[in-house]
């Protein structure tokens, strides 16, 4: 079954829409659902023109396609457990929060908190992702615990903060403090970043490019070869009980 949601023009285009109901499983019972614009609850078809093709028995057989100006649609795919969501353009904050299965593909850019506290499944973002990509929530120790987030562009600050499991792959560069507080899982950044893995206590991170403003509390243990490249290997963060591994192509300190 394929559900296509095309955003209608809105009178106040900057008011965000909260649409945690856009999850494949929910469409097994039809499209009679609601979303929120600010403090107003609206029927789904007040915000989107909705079309449905085919049938599905299980959530895994449902594909949701989102078109039009989706950049301010928040919480799409929250708690998703199966099926597929394809966003042709940009997507708003909190896409794929808590998701445990299925796939989300974003053709454009993703706003903040993409895949926050993700448990499983996969998210692919062809453009850039903003801050807190694959991160945790305020005050909670555990961030993402499983699944894969792959961003082909760059990510903002605090990517993979509190990472506890799963894999985060960034093909472009990361902003400041990627992998802060991480204690498990794997973070791979193909580009550059600043201050990676601050205060990490576990897990493994690779920075293929240069880590700028590298923190002085990572202990250099040698070099390794991986995927045809040489990485400098560090353990840390020794400001904490650092049992993490950080591999960087190159690094610079702020002295």
């Amino acid at each position: 079954m394929r559900v296509t949601l095309t955003v209608r023009p809105r009178e106040k285009p900057f008011l965000p829409i909260e649409a945690e109901t856009i999850v494949p499983r929910n469409f097994l019972d039809g499209t009679d659902t609601t979303v929120w614009r600010g403090n107003r609850e609206l029927p789904l078809d007040a915000v989107f023109s909705v079309s449905v093709e085919g049938n599905a028995e299980t959530a895994a057989e449902v594909e949701v396609v989102m078109r039009g100006d989706t950049a301010l649609i928040k919480r799409v795919g929250e708690y998703m457990d199966a099926g597929r969501i394809v966003v042709e353009g940009d997507i708003g904050m909190h896409c794929g929060n808590f998701m445990s299965g299925g796939t989300i593909e974003i053709g454009g850019n993703a706003d903040g908190w993409l895949g926050r506290e993700m448990r499983g499944g996969s998210i692919i973002c062809r453009g850039d992702a903003a801050d807190y990509c694959a991160s945790g929530y305020r005050g909670d120790k555990k961030g993402m615990t499983g699944g894969v987030v792959e961003v082909f562009g760059s990510v903002g600050d605090f990517a993979a903060e509190h990472l506890a499991g799963g894999t985060v792959i960034v093909h472009g560069s990361a902003g400041d403090m990627a992998g802060a507080e991480m204690h498990g899982g794997t973070l791979i950044i193909y580009g550059d970043c600043t201050r990676p893995c601050a205060n990490m206590t576990g897990g493994t991170a690779f920075v293929h490019g240069t880590a700028y403003d590298m923190l002085p509390t990572f202990r250099r243990v040698g070099t390794i070869r991986r995927e045809g490249r040489t990485f400098i290997q560090f353990t840390g963060d020794i400001a904490n009980r650092g049992k993490g591994n950080l591999f960087v192509g190159d690094c610079r300190y702020m002295d």
Binding site: Y132, D157, F158
Partner: protein
């Protein structure tokens, strides 16, 4: 010339914070504290005006020589002048970059504006009764 702009509280800014329409408040918050060396490089002297361009716009400030700021850095008391050029990005923390803004500074002969002139530039209407 490029500088790092830092904003912060000062006694005078605080003392006039409830008197936003006073000349003293405008004077204090439009002051740009700069090291003598940088002033020489820019070819300006104390109390001369500079045009400061930041991520979101341009504003005219008045230079005050200071030994307490390092060369390459300028200090501007927290207020409407500094904010006139600062962007709204908070790195998703709620807090903008009030203390680390890259700016371009050059000497200018333009007049420094009043607080309400700045507000009018942003779409406000002066209340001046």
């Amino acid at each position: 010339m490029k500088f790092l702009m830092i904003t912060g509280r000062t006694v005078n800014q605080g003392a006039y914070v409830e008197r936003k329409l006073s000349a003293q408040y405008a004077d204090e918050t439009s002051t740009c504290f700069m090291h003598q060396f940088d002033m020489m490089d820019l070819g300006i002297t104390d109390r001369e005006r500079v045009q400061v361009t930041g991520p979101c716009g341009t504003v005219v400030l008045v230079i005050a020589a200071s030994e307490d700021v390092n060369p390459g850095t300028v200090f501007v008391p927290y207020g409407p002048y500094a904010n006139h050029i600062i962007g709204g990005h908070t790195h998703s923390t709620g807090m903008p970059d009030f203390k680390s803004i890259e700016v371009e500074i050059e000497a200018t002969t333009e007049q420094r504006k009043g607080v309400y002139e700045l507000m009018e530039e942003l779409g406000g209407v002066a209340y001046d009764r």
